[in-house]
């Protein structure tokens, strides 16, 4: 079911809240090295699907395969360590920590994060220096260098979105799952960031799955588009195919949402 080309395969995922079937048997997959977008009207279940895939909410049914492994039972932090890192539509920044600390937190393989290493800095100091340098680079890339020493709580909504992205980048994921990363971000910077992600895809083999409402962006950068409505996946295909599909036009593109 999962071949080497598929990094993520989601099968029959379901979750209801009371009577609301937020996700109702969603099945889709993401090709390794692709930029795939997840679209659909408000309330279609996109964010819930992200929560289920990344383990932030538990599914009523369905399976999640990541890089060949069934990760359906793993906790969220464990899935993230396996290389599946997400951002949140409603940003979650560490308010009383600096922007730099927010970024540094996400770096993997820091032995100093183990309790028994805290009193032996020689085991983690050099890694810490690396992490700091990387974090500064990432902050530069997302345009937050100036803010490095400020509390994250002082950032604007758009800046918080950027910091979420920065944190995800610091984790050096194989699959980056972005929930409306461009919302509230100025379009020029947004485009630059997409180019940056594209570059990471070539350099590191990064795969991107992102939720986005801006159809120009979606059609412009995606290799594939997954369309959700009412908790189900309506179709998954190339953008030019999706754009012309009568059901998609009916359910989303021609609808009142855009």
């Amino acid at each position: 079911m999962t071949d080497a080309d598929t990094i993520l395969h989601v099968d029959g995922l379901a979750r209801h809240f009371g009577g609301v079937k937020a996700v109702d048997g969603a099945t889709f997959s993401v090709k390794r090295g692709s930029i795939t977008s997840l679209i659909g009207p408000n309330g279609a279940g996109k964010t819930t699907a992200f929560n289920l895939v990344t383990g932030f909410e538990s599914a009523d049914a369905g399976r999640v395969h990541f890089a060949g492994d069934d990760v359906s039972r793993l906790r969220a932090d464990h899935r993230a360590r396996k290389g599946m890192v997400r951002t949140f539509q409603l940003t979650r920044v560490l308010g009383k920590m600096t922007v730099l600390e927010n970024a540094m937190l996400a770096a993997p393989d820091q032995p100093g994060e183990r309790m028994w290493n805290v009193l032996t800095p020689r085991r983690w100091r050099s890694r810490e220096a690396e992490v700091k340098a990387q974090a500064l680079e990432v902050l530069d890339e997302i345009g937050l260098s100036e803010k490095a020493g400020d509390y994250a709580a002082t950032l604007s909504g758009g800046q918080r979105k950027l910091l979420e992205l920065g944190r995800a980048l610091m984790a050096r994921p194989d699959l980056m799952m972005l929930d409306e990363p461009m919302a509230g971000v100025n379009p020029t910077l947004g485009r630059q960031l997409l180019e940056y992600l594209d570059r990471l895809r070539t350099e590191r083999g990064l795969t991107v799955l992102f939720i986005e409402h801006d159809m120009d962006v979606v059609m412009g950068v995606s290799d594939e588009v997954v369309v959700m409505t009412q908790g189900r996946v309506l179709m998954q295909d190339r953008p030019d195919v999706v754009r012309k599909d009568a059901r998609v036009i009916d359910a989303y593109l021609g609808g009142a949402d855009e």
Partner: protein, 312 residues
């Protein structure tokens, strides 16, 4: 007003202050560093105290009993944490109060082992005779006649200092950064691939072990242990110290402990036309007033960071 002048009395008060300082340094790890609202902190002190007492009354040498007592307190932290740390913060807070009370009532009911309400006597084992040796050595070799409470006073504050310095050192580590991140937003930490649950469990165990140390010193000070020494009010005095000193500041903890201990002891010198038990109750009124005053006039506490107060 005799006691006002008695050095021994103030040495006692300062020792209690040092014990509180250690107790609250542990609480700071939970509340200030990790955001764990632990309302049952006194349980870890009780665990340290009673395990010391039970070991030494059963023939374990004091020096061996002390690290074991810390371990017992840390294990109690893990035991309380395993089922509760996955709960939302406010549920955790409620469960910790209950856990503290359960431990105290268990101690009270295990009369055969703990002496119950009659107390556990000679809980400090070889300490009193060791203390006499120290005093005699000072008198014989240095010609200094020490007040009998001074050695423990000095030891207590040395221990407090060492723990505070260790915490400051730990404070610069990526581990503590991860703890603070847990305090700020658990989802963000999990999304960054950090094991939130383990981090909380580790913080709980560390803070509990520190509280266990305060229990050991308390045992040396009192020599007899009673369940009523470990009522929930001890935790709340701890919170008063934390709030007064400033959440997040280790130095604030030290100063807050001294201030609150002197206030608690000082109230007894106020000349009120009240029965003794009412004067005792008055202490808690005073502590309540202090917490309210701090909240109103200096909500960040004496050494907290004001600029963090309005951030979220």
């Amino acid at each position: 007003m005799g006691p006002l002048l008695a050095f021994g009395f103030w040495a006692y008060v300062l020792t209690v202050a040092g014990i509180y300082a250690i107790f609250v340094l542990g609480l700071q790890v939970h509340v200030g560093d990790t955001g764990l609202l632990n309302f049952g902190h006194v349980a870890f002190m009780a665990a340290g105290a009673y395990s010391t007492g039970l070991m030494v009354t059963n023939g374990v040498p004091l020096l061996a009993a002390i690290p074991l007592a810390m371990l017992v307190a840390a294990l109690l932290g893990v035991l309380v944490g395993l089922p509760t740390l996955r709960l939302r913060g406010d549920y955790f807070a409620i469960v910790t109060i209950a856990a503290g009370e359960i431990l105290r009532i268990m101690i009270q009911n295990q009369q055969g082992a703990t002496g119950g309400t009659l107390g556990l006597r000679k809980a400090s084992g070889g300490w009193p005779s060791f203390n006499r040796d120290i005093l005699r050595w000072f008198e014989d070799t240095l010609g200094i006649e020490l007040e009998r409470r001074v050695p423990l006073l000095v030891i207590t504050w040395l221990v407090a200092l060492v723990i505070a310095l260790l915490l400051v050192r730990i404070g610069r580590s990526p581990w503590r950064r991860a703890l603070r991140a847990v305090r700020e937003n658990e989802d963000a930490v999990a999304a960054a691939g950090k094991p939130v649950f383990q981090l909380k469990l580790q913080a709980l165990a560390l803070g509990a072990a520190i509280a266990g140390v305060s229990g050991v010193l308390f045992t040396l000070l009192q020599t007899s242990l009673y369940p009523e020494n470990f009522e929930p009010i001890v935790t709340f005095v701890g919170f008063a110290i934390l709030i007064l000193g400033g959440i997040g500041s280790y130095f604030g903890v030290v100063l807050g402990s001294i201030l609150i201990s002197f206030i608690i002891s000082g109230v007894r010198f106020l000349d009120f036309p009240l029965a003794a038990d009412k004067v005792a109750a008055l202490r808690f009124v005073v502590i309540g007033l202090i917490i309210m005053a701090v909240m109103a006039f200096r909500p960040q506490g004496l050494f907290g960071k004001k600029e963090e107060l309005h951030l979220d």
